[in-house]
Symmetry: C2
Subunit: 405 residues, 2 copies
């Protein structure tokens, strides 16, 4: 027996998890509200767009007296609804190719666990959705960033530049498409590059397609459509954005690779099941998806145009007009956007109103990048969004007048 | 650049996850049903007891047009309902001491991630709920089993025997109380031993108290009640069994250790939130818990008595009358209970009926143990449960008449 005399310590992997950069300003927001200031929140992808009524109607029709576990592989009718949904993209899944999950977050976790061991590497384009940092920490893997730039619309570097980052520890490449936080979408050439790299180097493609339908001038796509990477692709999906219901916590993980899906099912069994009521509620939406996603996307397109028209006329601001998702990144004429966000919440108001945006630094993995960038989530109705943009404009003027940078 | 020329392989940690021993016989059950045989299922803790009506009534009253993310720390009113619930046990939690989770499974995952790094050890009494094996595999930790025995009612060994297993890698001791699968509950002396060990060796106590209220002759307790291990205890809970609604996927993780809860909150942020509708639906149940749990526990007690009265008169069968939860383990006069389960599903019927039970071997970590044991979950109404027990009796007779072991 060896006595463990160390203190009761938190694990190193837990220490390595950063607090959500999107959620950490909450105390300042509450303080501003306490001072009577109205805060227009464009910081988080929690949209004001209502979920289609059929969702709650269906949940309310649930008349079983029991709320039993769903199968780990999903309520059968729900899983069939996902299969029907994927047919819209000419993707023919069998039941063993897809498992409903608790949001896309769980789908990402399952995919990372299925393809990596501790110490393995996963490549990811930065800036990226920061939950990937936390997932990498708790799964003990190393993220290898490939930096993109607002100035060229977050275009991917060429194949050789990407392949340079591959080591014998590299297991997968994460592709968020359409992208959170950049709002960019991959063009055909970029998709071909990713597929070639995955094929040549035996890498998995973790295709996070949460925002699949929210594209403004192109057709929605999926990496599952490409037969040449049939065994490489693991598609990670969510109902949260396409049907505007993030609190329903329903997503899915899909792959044509039978070994991967066998492993994912075993992992899914550990946590038993995704919530039963929401699986039922989602059946009509997934079965008739385009009807709902078209309307939601049309609204986001209008909002995108509002946000960009404001940003484009703001002196010293650089932004790349997004092609999809519900975010835009803007480079501001400030040296530290986190300080600017704090200024907006703590020291600024215009007629007792202010705006909350998100600094982008924590969306980068490489330290020092993104310090002067912000993300705007266009999650408010058009009238409020215009107000938020006016407040941002006035806030920036005011900040620059007192901070000479 | 090093080219990764290996094939597209599943990770080792995923390979190490075993399929659920409770769910793996499903194909045989479906085949039996196809042959017209009615299968009485006492294999899984998915009870026929209805959820209290107030749950679905409350969900159906939800009238927000949005299904927004809940806070990662939980819907405020839901978290307050948990705090009120814990006051029943004289446990005074503050909001920062508790976070709602997606079932107890997520609470266990968060606790393991918060206290262990890969290679660390966690002690656990065997037999135990098999999801812990899967969680250990995906979290890359080593489970160190301490074997208990049906013959003495699964009593814990003395302090020295337990402490022998501690190494400088040991971070925690898992205690499932009341226990799944044994149905045993810890007595005061056993609790004192665990608390002393945790205190002396600086170990966390992961107290899985999913079945807290389902105790037949004693008062429900929690490890959170003991001030001497205030910093050591992490309580893992679920509404699944106490309110008979496993498909709601709501649990919680609670601790007075501020560093642990800070880490757990950061981990919780990665997955955003537990489902919104069920958090609302659970508020009235958690706020007035005893009213509902008393009724449910009274029903399980009657069922426990039925199951035990059958088992006790079956020749060669050894069982320990459970004091809680909804399971009993029986040692059968067979050499391989998995083969017996297969016999019941594939080769046996009595008037076109048979019974599904669970072999216990996979609930042990030490290889070779539990081969002649089964678990019965008393999840059927009393009439059906009696039928299931008659079928088990007849099935065992029939099996023994053709298998001389």
């Amino acid at each position: 027996m060896t006595t463990n005399k160390s203190a009761l310590n938190v694990s190193s992997r837990a220490e390595n998890v950063i607090a959500s950069p999107i959620r950490k300003f909450l105390p300042m927001v509450l303080a501003a509200e306490k001072r009577g200031i109205k805060v227009f929140k464009v910081n988080v992808g929690d949209s004001d767009i209502a979920v289609p009524e059929i969702f709650l109607k269906t949940v309310k029709k649930y008349n079983d007296k029991n709320i039993k576990y769903a199968p780990s592989s999903g309520v059968i009718e729900h899983m069939q609804a996902w299969i029907k949904y994927y047919k819209n993209f000419n993707i023919e899944l069998k039941p063993e190719n897809i498992i409903p999950t608790v949001g896309c977050a769980e789908a990402i976790l399952f995919a990372i666990l299925a393809v990596t061991d501790p110490g393995d590497e996963v490549m990811i384009f930065e800036p990226f959705y920061p939950s990937y940092k936390g997932l990498a920490a708790i799964c003990n893997i190393k993220l290898v960033p490939i930096t993109l730039h607002v100035e060229n619309g977050f275009a991917l570097p060429n194949k050789e530049e990407i392949a340079k980052k591959i080591t014998n520890k590299t297991k997968a490449l994460v592709v968020i498409n359409p992208n959170n936080p950049t709002g960019s979408i991959l063009n055909e050439k970029e998709i071909a590059v990713i597929n070639q790299i995955a094929k040549e180097h035996n890498l998995f493609i973790l295709a996070d397609e949460t925002y699949r339908e929210i594209v403004f001038d192109k057709k929605p796509t999926s990496f599952l459509q490409f037969p040449e990477v049939r065994d490489n692709v693991i598609a990670l999906d969510s109902v949260s954005k396409k049907f505007s219901c993030p609190g329903a916590r329903i997503g899915s993980i899909a792959s044509f690779n039978p070994e991967i899906m066998k492993s994912v099912l075993k992992i899914a069994m550990i946590r038993l099941s995704a919530p039963t009521l929401e699986q039922f509620g989602m059946i009509p939406l997934l079965s008739n998806a385009t009807k709902y996603t078209k309307k939601i996307t049309a609204e986001y397109k209008k909002r995108r145009d509002i946000v960009c028209s404001f940003l484009q006329k703001m002196p010293g601001v650089v932004c790349s007009k997004p092609d999809g998702a519900l975010y835009v990144i803007a480079k501001l004429p400030v040296s530290n956007s986190e300080k600017f966000v704090e200024f907006l919440l703590n020291d600024f108001n215009y007629k007792n109103e202010t705006v909350q945006i998100t600094p982008v630094e924590d969306f980068y993995f490489t330290s020092g990048l993104g310090k002067n960038e912000i993300r705007i989530a266009y999650v408010l109705n058009q009238k409020d969004l215009k107000k938020a943009m006016v407040l941002l404009e006035k806030g920036l003027e005011s900040y620059l007048s007192v901070n000479k940078n």
